[in-house]
């Protein structure tokens, strides 16, 4: 099975994140960069499927030069090789542009199964897997908490509020995973060393046959028109228990629709 796992480098959620004044895009230099956490679950699932059914795991990442750190991490976990789509013209691409670019690369390198995290911690739209499946013209199986492959049949547990739905499709397909699906492995010492020697193919827009007019900030269909810093945290509400503390606390939660 030819498995491609899409991996994105994102600013660490633990560091202070901000948008750039000039163009309202994420200031990626201001924060530590890490692999998008959900992508680690996607990589783990890809590795497990390849271990169980044979085949190769290829990492696909679109991002600046610095994204090689995330790619190496994915390779050190055990993926076989990687494709890095890197081109200045891609900076600021929105979902439409990103999905078009990734689809173009996937069309070139081929795949039986594409696995993604169900969202990234920076933009958090969660829409990329669906857009990618649409552009590739293959079934989409989203929010998977379990994946099973049998020949060319794939079935997943799609996580829902009430439990899960079982969703089935035929390969090739796109799957997005949730963190319930597995426990990502740590790289091994030998794996980190071996990752340095694994092939990473870099592709430009031209290599991938992507029309520059479809990607980048200038061609984005969506636009950030305004933004503000998160307001400082307000002081909490103190509920004094005068025998009715439980009811007051429940009222507080109900008011905010937590219960």
């Amino acid at each position: 099975m030819n498995i491609v796992v899409c991996v994105k480098q994102v600013p660490d959620t633990w560091s202070e994140r901000t948008l750039r004044e000039s163009d309202s895009t994420l200031d990626r230099d201001a924060a530590d960069a890490v692999i998008n956490e959900l992508d680690e679950y996607a990589i783990e699932e890809g590795l497990r499927l390849a271990e169980a059914h044979g085949g190769e795991v290829t990492i696909l990442s679109m991002g600046p030069d610095r994204a090689t750190e995330a790619i190496r991490k994915a390779l050190s976990m055990g993926a076989d090789k990687a494709v890095h789509l890197v081109d200045d013209a891609l900076a600021g691409s929105d979902l439409l542009g990103t999905s078009a670019a990734l689809a173009a690369v996937l069309g070139q390198i081929g795949f039986d199964l594409v696995i993604l995290g169900s969202e990234s911690t920076d933009a958090r739209t969660g829409a990329l897997p669906a857009m990618l499946a649409e552009r590739l013209g293959v079934p989409q199986l989203s929010y998977a908490s379990k994946v099973e492959v049998d020949g060319s049949a794939i079935s997943i547990h799609r996580l829902a509020d009430y439990g899960y739905d079982t969703v089935e499709a035929t390969l090739p397909a796109v799957v997005s995973v949730v963190e319930k699906i597995n426990e990502p492995r740590y790289p091994t010492f030998k794996g980190i060393m071996a990752a340095k020697k694994k092939p990473v193919q870099t592709m430009s827009l031209a290599d991938a046959g992507i029309d520059p007019a479809t990607v980048g900030l200038a061609n984005a269909a969506s636009e950030v028109t305004g933004w503000a810093k998160r307001p400082p945290r307000q002081a909490g509400t103190i509920v004094t228990d005068e025998g009715d503390g439980g009811a007051k606390a429940a009222g507080f939660l109900a008011e905010r629709k937590f219960i």
């Binding site: 633990w14 530590d32 740590y186 010492f189």
Partner: protein, 398 residues
């Protein structure tokens, strides 16, 4: 990636890419898996078998042994910094890795090709955990006075006796045991006649006593090991019969470097806790780190930790270069463990009342530091080793 590096946050100069990979991985596992679990496990006395398995799978349990034998093929300069990072996250783990490496030493250095072929792979492969059985109830500093007997019985040896203070007792998969095959434990030549054996935990007649109730490192099992007519095939004798004590001493030279690295890691963790607290805590209208009396204390602590690290790394580089390093290892163990004790004590002082309660790790660091001045040769014995080498040197120069 410099800022936000997990673990101790110490800026290191890495000898090579492999060092960066191994130390970085140890720091990451330390920050994500070990440090968050340490306080509760120490309180409950839970032995961290799962954490050792995780390190085994990551390839961090046998770094200093040759890759051909199944180890990580790394120099001590790299291996010890891994131990330091692990110990900074959780001393029981750092010390446990050092003990495991110690317990593989006899097989790796004195084992025959056949013995290594049969046993060493899994020992270095990360699935198994080892223990090192030298001390006895009646012989600690004077280890050569050990009384555990190994008597020949057909093709086998029968082991009888009691070992004391054994780290990983009852948890280990194999025990490296020193026992007497000849000689008088009270005689002048008591070091001769000691032999080294590889004893799998499943050997009948090998049992662990209930664990000791220690003042710190309660997650690490420490107990007596009893050997009651434990039958050990002659094929599990490591090195020549009667030459085991030299294996024990050589292993301890290396082991002391491991303790020095543990002590440096623990001291660094205590320093980090103290500095973090002193920057946040305000009294008299400002952070307490701005009071010179406290700032100078932190400066002395930081200087001592850096010196301890430099000392063990200097000894490690001598070892890696094939130079004699026994004296330097003793110096590093002595200085680093005394530093850990002082820095941990001062860290409690920096936190004031908060240093004395379990809500912060400072009091635990203090309880843990003490053991490092005792194990693998008390600090008196380290001074003995150093002073004897000085005496020999003067004579040799004459």
């Amino acid at each position: 990636m410099t800022a936000g590096t997990p673990g101790t946050g110490v800026e290191r100069s890495y000898p090579d890419e492999a060092a960066r990979a191994a130390i970085g991985l140890a720091a990451e596992i330390g920050a994500n898996e070990l440090a968050p679990a340490a306080a509760a496990a120490e309180r409950e006395g839970r032995f961290p078998r799962a954490e050792f398995r995780l390190l085994g799978r990551a390839g961090l349990l046998a770094l200093p042994y040759p890759a051909e034998l199944g180890g990580g093929g790394q120099p001590y300069e790299t291996y010890l910094q891994v131990v330091e990072e692990l110990a900074a996250a959780w001393l029981t783990i750092g010390l446990g890795v050092s003990v495991h490496v110690l317990s593989c030493f006899g097989m790796a250095t004195a084992g025959t090709p056949e013995q290594r072929e049969r046993w060493l792979g899994p020992m270095l492969g990360g699935d198994l955990l080892g223990a090192y059985c030298l001390s006895e109830p009646g012989s600690g500093s004077d280890a050569a006075a050990l009384r555990t007997q190994a008597t020949v019985d057909g093709q086998d040896y029968l082991l009888n006796g009691t070992k004391a203070w054994i780290s990983h007792a009852g948890q280990a998969d194999f025990y490296t045991v020193f026992a007497r095959t000849a000689g008088d434990p009270d005689g002048r030549d008591r070091a001769h006649g000691i032999s080294c054996f590889h004893v799998p935990a499943s050997t009948p007649g090998v049992t662990a006593a209930p664990a000791e109730h220690k003042m710190g490192m309660r997650a690490s099992a420490t107990a007596q090991m009893r050997f009651e007519s434990a039958r050990v095939p002659a094929g599990q004798l490591l090195g020549e019969e009667g030459r085991g004590f030299s294996i024990a001493l050589a292993a301890l030279d290396s082991g002391r470097l491991g303790i020095a690295a543990c002590a440096t890691g623990l001291a660094q963790a205590a320093l980090n806790t103290a500095v973090g607290y002193a920057r946040e805590r305000r009294q008299f209208g400002r952070p307490i780190i701005e009071f010179q009396g406290l700032g100078f204390m932190l400066a002395d602590m930081a200087t001592a930790v850096a010196a301890a690290r430099a000392l063990y790394l200097a000894a490690a580089r001598r070892r890696d270069a094939g130079l004699p390093y026994g004296r330097e290892a003793a110096m590093a163990k002595l200085f680093a463990s005394d530093t850990a004790m002082r820095v941990a004590t001062d860290a409690v002082q920096v936190l004031g009342g908060y240093g004395y309660v379990e809500d912060f790790p400072a009091e635990r660091f203090l309880r843990e530091a003490k053991v490092l001045q005792i194990v693998e040769g008390t600090n008196q014995i380290q001074r003995l080793v150093i002073s004897r080498s000085l005496a020999r040197e003067t004579r040799g120069k004459g």
